[in-house]
Symmetry: C2
Subunit: 191 residues, 2 copies
Amino acid sequence: MSIIQAASPPGPPPTLVDWSTGSISGEGVEESVKTLGQLEGIFEDEPAWRAMNPDTEVYRVRYWRPVSDGKTGGLFWGSTVLQPGRVGDEYFMTHGHFHAIRDRAEFYATVKGTGALLIMREDGELWSQKMKPGTVHYIPGDVAHRVVNTGDEPLIFLASWPSDAGHDYARIRATGFSKRLVLRNGEPCLP
Amino acid sequence: MSIIQAASPPGPPPTLVDWSTGSISGEGVEESVKTLGQLEGIFEDEPAWRAMNPDTEVYRVRYWRPVSDGKTGGLFWGSTVLQPGRVGDEYFMTHGHFHAIRDRAEFYATVKGTGALLIMREDGELWSQKMKPGTVHYIPGDVAHRVVNTGDEPLIFLASWPSDAGHDYARIRATGFSKRLVLRNGEPCLP
């Protein structure tokens, strides 16, 4: 089925996803790791955070950017593995971000594990959606989004987002999310 | 983990995907079926096409449009089941389309089955990528795309695309794809 081409292809060769693990691999797939030490100021219980090993992996993202960052009309694809754990009574979670271009949406789709997607408007109003294998979440524009692992195993989800969306992490570092998902009486609770 | 909200959520509730079958379901998921009869003029061997039952299902798309068609910055999500079969020596395939806004990209990710993704520029230059379980295909802007089932079982793939991409089917109806994937000596061939 392959033929010799005179012109170079308009897009990249395909990559691979393992549907049973959510792992993506192939040419052009990049990886980034976030440790506890890199998440300073994100968890509420700072003494508990200081007492933990800063090299502890909280999450690992593999992402595929087939076009340049900022290009209009393109898409990116990623896979996140968020470890189980807590800092004090607060569950391990992703940093969370708004998109730099605020109206850009994103899909999250859960492959393994259990947790919650937190969605927060600029005014601090916040909603949560339960994540479990197979849930597909539409994150509309104009909201910050963060994922929390409330289970005992890694929480793995796939994501797709516009290549011009960008990330605004600074807004979250400055004011955080309005609610935190914590362990209360043996259950996840959003007080 | 659920709390009473004063304001209505900024996005829809999650839907579900069965990773083993690629089937999506839930509130807001729509379905569309394409039969042989609806694909008039798409296959080359018209006598063979006329001799077949026009009610034969060629493919079925389930799609989730969490925002209105045409909205900038949003995303849609879909799952396609393309049946095995041939019209003469040409394999069953999707209609194929350009996006109405030409620079909009799309992801296809294969869940089950084997086949090929055909990608064609406006000038007719065409490339193919093999599809098998786990292949993730980036369809850049400015190309028509069509999926062909070269196997003996349904070819199932997930897709995500911008909500303002739109579909231009008319261009394909007018001039078709520049190459066709056919059975030759027991193998798929793109002459």
